[in-house]
Amino acid sequence: MIGGLWAPDAQADRVVPPSGANARLTLFASAVMAFLAVFSVALALAAARLADRWESEMAQSATLRIVAPAEQMDEQTALAMDLLRTTGGVDNARALSTAEQQALLAPWFGADLSLDALPVPQLIEIRTDADFDAAGLRLRLAGEVPGAVLDDHGRWRAPLIRAANRLRWLGWGTAGLILATVAAIVTLAANASLAANAQVIAVLRLVGATDTYIARAFVRRFTLRTLIGASGGAVLGGTAIAMISDRGENAGLLTGFGFQGLEWAMLFPLPLVTAAVALVATGLAADRALKGLS
């Protein structure tokens, strides 16, 4: 029955009496749901971007820490750099300067910290490619630079990526729940409307209206209201996202929350998907209600 619900019929729309409060509530509910769905989708996309960035950026980097007595530090650093230069999968290796290490520690010890006063290890930043073999490098370091500890970031990168991915699915899941809520709200509104118009349905049947025709009159009305409400909600949601989002280079989950580039196109199908959900929900509700009114 649902297949024939969207056939254009201006006269069919008139046979169902106008219902002011019901119409406004459906419009409002679908606008709010679409607004929330925009945020859920933005959250899912931001989390996906973050997970991808962490995965790609951190998978291409590692840190070598040289822990040695002060008089051996330069020698071990040089040995490690020589070894890294001859290691496959290492694109680039660079020992951090004293100033850079000082800057890294500044949040904890202040900018005036003198590294000479602390046994701070020497850090070497390594850029890697797909051929990088962390386990092999560790074996070589153990033999040639005993004070070197390789950190390929895997230990803390994996749970972060897992968390970002969970957040992404949470965003999509929430969007799905919102659509399910739209279906529930529209179904309730359609049921109320069908029950309130039992006499109208009786008259229509008396004069030879098929149940498909009657259902279409109700379904078109609710689908149209949902489409209008969801379009308004999506526009408002998109505007709000545009106002709060930070499109800077270093945008994180919260600061980078929003849509980027072609992602904005995802706003266009949102009202259509919401209306499609309303179409199916109202169609099923009408079919069930009309069977009950037989």
Partner: protein, 229 residues
């Protein structure tokens, strides 16, 4: 008389565990005029509802235009109903539409062009004497006007059968006579008419106008009473 347009073969109907009809059989020929009489609660309205598919027999076969209702789905029943005009005692309209739109409603729901039938609707409203009420709304009509508007709505699709359930129940004698005139005229045009009524004076008044037969529904059985009442 032509072919049978309504055939009841051993029709039973039960409601809430009580059997209202126990094996009713009747054949109403094309172009006939029947009164369906009987005491209140005998099941006249139920029998009419069975005849236009609003209810289904619990046993037996009921054919309209040779088609058994049992063989049709809900939409099939609705399409067959377009060939049957129905007038109720408590006429129901769509109150948000004008009288004109209500009369045109059968055309609207069957997908026919109302614009193309504009002249027919105008003539029909004139025939039932409601030209000046066409743009009004049903709640503004009197009981008699509502019955006449219902009759106009019932015949707009030019149905072959017209079923009227106590059409004169809420109106005065003059208006009842007017309605009977209209139904008699339709019968002379070849329509099959069935009027359910407990008003025997209406049955007697019809004798002068049409050749009618009377079906009496008593204790779940249908009896042919002839025209001699």
């Amino acid at each position: 008389m032509g072919p049978r347009v309504i055939e009841l073969e051993d029709v039973c109907y039960s409601y809430g565990g009580d059997q209202l009809f126990a094996g009713i059989s009747a054949k109403l020929p094309d172009g006939s005029f029947h009164f369906l009489t009987g005491p209140s609660g005998a099941g006249k309205t139920t029998l009419l509802k069975l005849c236009y598919g609003a209810l289904r027999p619990t046993q037996g076969a009921l054919k309209v235009f040779g088609t058994p209702f049992q063989s049709l789905d809900r939409d099939g029943v609705a399409k067959l109903r377009r060939r049957v005009g129905v007038v109720h005692q408590d006429v129901q309209f769509l109150d948000h539409l004008t009288v004109w739109d209500n009369v045109a409603l059968p055309l609207t729901v069957s997908g026919r062009s109302v614009e193309a039938a504009e002249r027919d609707i105008t003539e029909l409203l004139a025939w039932v004497g409601l030209t000046d009420r066409a743009r009004g709304h049903p709640p503004e009509l009197s009981g008699g006007e509502r019955q006449r508007a219902a009759l106009a709505r019932a015949v707009i699709m030019s149905p072959d059968i017209i079923l009227a359930d106590e059409p004169t129940g809420n109106i005065d004698w003059d208006m009842s006579q007017r309605l009977l005139d209209l139904l008699s005229e339709l019968n002379r045009m070849g329509k099959t008419i069935v009027i359910a009524t407990h008003d025997m004076s209406l049955v007697r008044a019809a004798k002068a106008q049409v050749q009618s037969r009377v079906l009496r529904l008593v204790n779940g059985q249908l009896h042919q009473a002839g025209a001699d009442l």
